[in-house]
């Protein structure tokens, strides 16, 4: 299928502040919609007159509306985060590989998220919970900088009620926080992972993903059962411009979701 390079028009139908700098926009097509989006894929969001950026989908796949969670870190993301309902944005995509969470049918599905990395994983989690009986355990291990910077914190009870085991840890907290404090890898042992029967999906800062994948391999998990969502400078989205190259991969096409078996040597290579 050919993906149009002309942005489709989408209207911001609602917005939800996740944290002080992160917003989830719900986007409804204002004309012809883009093709169905799968969990793990991304779109190029265009703030007209300012610029275009890659953003992973964070909503349940197969929905008419797109949910995209954006952290304000630069000009384009700040403009998108400030958009009120009714505003029009451009959307290209969907691009890239997906989590293929359904591939873990009959196994434990382990999601390990760090910071805003929970956004792309939320999509896989919602998909898995909508078909909960397909999996054995569905486990989400979530790391955040602080309780105030935990995205989707208001949904965690719903995820638990839908059959997910959710553990949250933060890097720093005061005595009002009654959850875990520490790095997310420390939750792996506490979660009681069953290495041969687990498929793991990891998303977060690259250092966090490397350390998490290494910790999972140390438990006996096969690298082939671990998938990471990698990020580079995605621009064209169709593997033409080369900005997102990581060794032999063009991540807008061959990623963002990549098996750790493939990613491990690339992540260990300097200057890639």
């Amino acid at each position: 299928m050919t993906i149009s390079q002309v942005p489709a028009s989408y209207r911001v139908s609602s917005r939800r502040d996740e944290t002080h700098d992160t917003v989830t926009l719900t986007l409804e097509p204002a004309g012809d919609p883009i093709a169905a989006v799968r969990a793990g894929q991304f779109t190029m969001l265009y703030a007209f007159g300012i610029g275009e950026i890659p953003i992973s989908v964070s909503g349940r796949p197969g929905q008419h509306a797109l949910a995209q969670t954006i952290r304000a870190v630069g000009a384009v993301t700040t403009a998108l985060c400030a958009m009120p309902a009714g505003q029009i944005v451009g959307v290209r995509g969907p691009f890239g590989t997906c989590w293929d969470e359904a591939d873990a049918a009959g196994r434990d599905l382990l999601l390990v998220a760090g910071g805003i990395g929970l956004a792309p994983l939320r999509s896989a989690l919602l998909a898995a919970l909508s078909d909960r009986q397909r999996y054995r355990r569905v486990i989400a291990l979530i790391g955040a900088r602080s309780p105030a910077e935990l995205v989707f914190g208001g949904e965690i009870d719903d995820w638990r009620a839908s059959g997910a085991e959710v553990m949250v840890t933060v890097d720093r907290a005061d005595a009002s926080w009654h959850g875990n404090v520490g790095v997310v890898t420390q939750l792996i042992r506490r979660a009681g992972v069953d290495p041969p029967n687990t498929t793991a999906l990891i998303c977060g800062p690259e250092v966090m993903m490397r350390l998490t994948a290494r910790s999972l391999v140390a438990t006996g998990m096969s690298a082939g059962n671990i998938r990471l969502s990698l990020e580079r400078n995605m621009q064209c989205g169709v593997a033409e411009c080369g900005h997102c190259q990581l060794g032999p991969l063009l991540l807008c096409r061959d990623g963002p979701v990549v098996s750790y078996q493939v990613a491990e040597p690339l992540l260990a290579t300097r200057e890639l």
Binding site: V73, G74, R145, A175, N180, V183, P205, M208
Partner: protein, 161 residues
């Protein structure tokens, strides 16, 4: 508070790989304790003289800061060890510890542990090795947290994004 069987102790991650004789010697020193939520085990500055192997629940290691609420430095859970400071010459707790959730644990006197290790160097080596692994893991975790990985990227790194 009650005694601990070798079977119970052998189920804890810390005891994995110990021989039956070593387990027996260690179990003879252990007592099983149940701590309610809110129970403070120790305060910063106190004499460090206990090791706990946590079986369930959650412990918060915390620090008092003048003018602020206590800061939680780290939490520990099932399978973790609590109380390493007695290994240092000053044997003084560097943080406080409070049960956030009801805790079940095996408790050891550090004096008894040291005496056992002095009498049985092979067991001493095994215990020291485990505690060093724990200390390294906590050091590495602390270093990772210093990186502040989840902070917003600096504008220069974020570019136009």
């Amino acid at each position: 508070m009650r005694g601990v069987s070798t079977r119970e102790l052998g189920q804890h991650a810390f005891a994995r790989g110990l021989t039956a004789g070593q387990l027996e010697a260690l179990a003879a020193l252990a007592v099983s304790v149940e701590l309610p939520a809110g129970c403070r085990l120790f305060e910063e500055g106190g004499r460090a003289a206990r090791l706990w192997l946590l079986r369930s629940g959650r412990i918060a290691l915390d620090l008092r800061v003048p003018g602020r609420e206590r800061i939680i430095v780290e939490t520990l859970g099932p399978g973790d060890e609590l109380g390493l400071s007695w290994l240092t010459p000053v044997a003084q707790w560097q943080f406080g510890a409070i049960a956030q959730l009801p805790v079940s644990a095996f408790e050891f006197s550090s004096t008894a542990l040291v005496e056992l290790c002095e009498a049985d160097h092979e067991l001493g080596y095994q215990l020291t090795r485990r505690l060093v692994v724990t200390a390294i893991a906590r050091l590495q975790a602390a270093r990772i947290r210093i990186l502040d990985l989840y902070a917003a990227p600096a504008p220069a790194a974020g570019g136009a994004l």
